[in-house]
Subunit: 133 residues, 4 copies
């Protein structure tokens, strides 16, 4: 599998707005994180278990494009795509839509595999590599 | 010493506002945290070193009273009072004022001493106990 | 009705943890906020519509007691109680439990009714007053 | 002037860390925001006044590259570069360094000029255009 798509829904919290009356731009990285967590869970991975097994996935790169603002109490759909192949790095792509189906924000993040103890790069788990080629 | 007072200044960040156009209420706990960190540093303690030495100070209780809102870009003064005696717990009191000298928020936090490894209650460091009686 | 109870579930986000390995203490005010929003919705109120109708509910007071820490990926239950009577102020009480049913955090918030334009205290909406006496 | 560089220092707050023991990746957008605010102030602009004058600068794009993690209590230097020319958009570049002078994170943000009332694109303020060509 080279591509795994997953969708979740998130209700915008009041705290996530700023005085512009819309979601503060950095909070989309929270939404991406939620999408990523659930996408991994849906293909058999719990990020929590991954960390408990001693592997962390710190970000190497993040990119966001803002098309339309999200507002308080909006019910957002976060579509996360895990894009293989998984090598020393893993890439996730995101699209945030509102209830009207409009795309609000898109972006991607790239993560490295790191040994939690040594904090040095490590190989991706074999099972994950098997899954995404 | 039964009482140690310390003041710092914090500039309100855009991210800290919400769509009411004022600082989101929970962010005062961030300001309290900054005040607490610097108050401890001013009486010879670095919270970072405390944690590195294996002692954590998780919250047991927090209380906030909101009198007037803080706004974006306000330069706030956070006055932190460490109130002895230090026993199994330590108490900090806070007052947040704006540039006009108006009190915006007051509150307090109570913390326990916890061994970072066992996550169980532990004695306060002798030096801190000596300081605050 | 003097009392309205409502429960929601929230999955702890990675961003909500701190280096102590648990949920940062101030984030419970986010959870309380989510609980409050959904409790109001469940008894026929949308906080969004309330604000659009020109009424805001800023905090006057908040209180939190921390019994046990919540951890990343925990599925928390937030029980919110709206406690009447509703006068110039409205009071919400909260209890956060984990999947094992343990109480992690309790607290309450007190809010005033404020006219969004004048930013001055105003009467509670008649319908809300009728509901909670 | 095609280029304006400005530096500020920021102390990492406890709340900004996550359970990986480092600054949560999205918080760099807060640091960028602080750098941007102070860079604008240093060349004669207050973002607060800009908004009060009816002009907002929402993000169109953001990009971050993570080289090394920042830790709790680190004293970070944020270097912000305003890169002209200013047209319908304005671009800021950022570099975050620690006390050892190591580069931790770099990135940029692109912003549009928006009329606060109509929420539609508008021209950049003449003075800003004069400044950055």
């Amino acid at each position: 599998m080279r591509l795994f798509e997953h969708e979740i829904q998130i209700r915008v919290r009041y705290v996530e707005t700023d005085q512009m009356g819309v979601v503060w731009h950095g909070n989309y990285l929270q939404y991406f994180e939620c999408g990523r967590t659930e996408a991994l869970r849906a293909c058999g991975w719990s990020y929590r278990e991954l960390e408990e097994a001693g592997i962390m996935l710190p970000l190497v790169e993040a990119h966001l494009e803002y098309l339309r603002p999200a507002k308080y109490d909006d019910l957002l759909t976060i579509r996360t795509t895990v894009r293989g192949p998984v090598s020393a790095r893993i890439r996730f792509e995101y699209e945030v839509r509102n209830e009207a189906g409009e795309t609000l924000t898109t972006g991607y993040t790239v993560h490295g595999f790191v040994d939690a103890k040594t904090r040095r790069p490590c190989r991706p788990p074999a099972k994950l590599k098997a899954l995404f080629g």
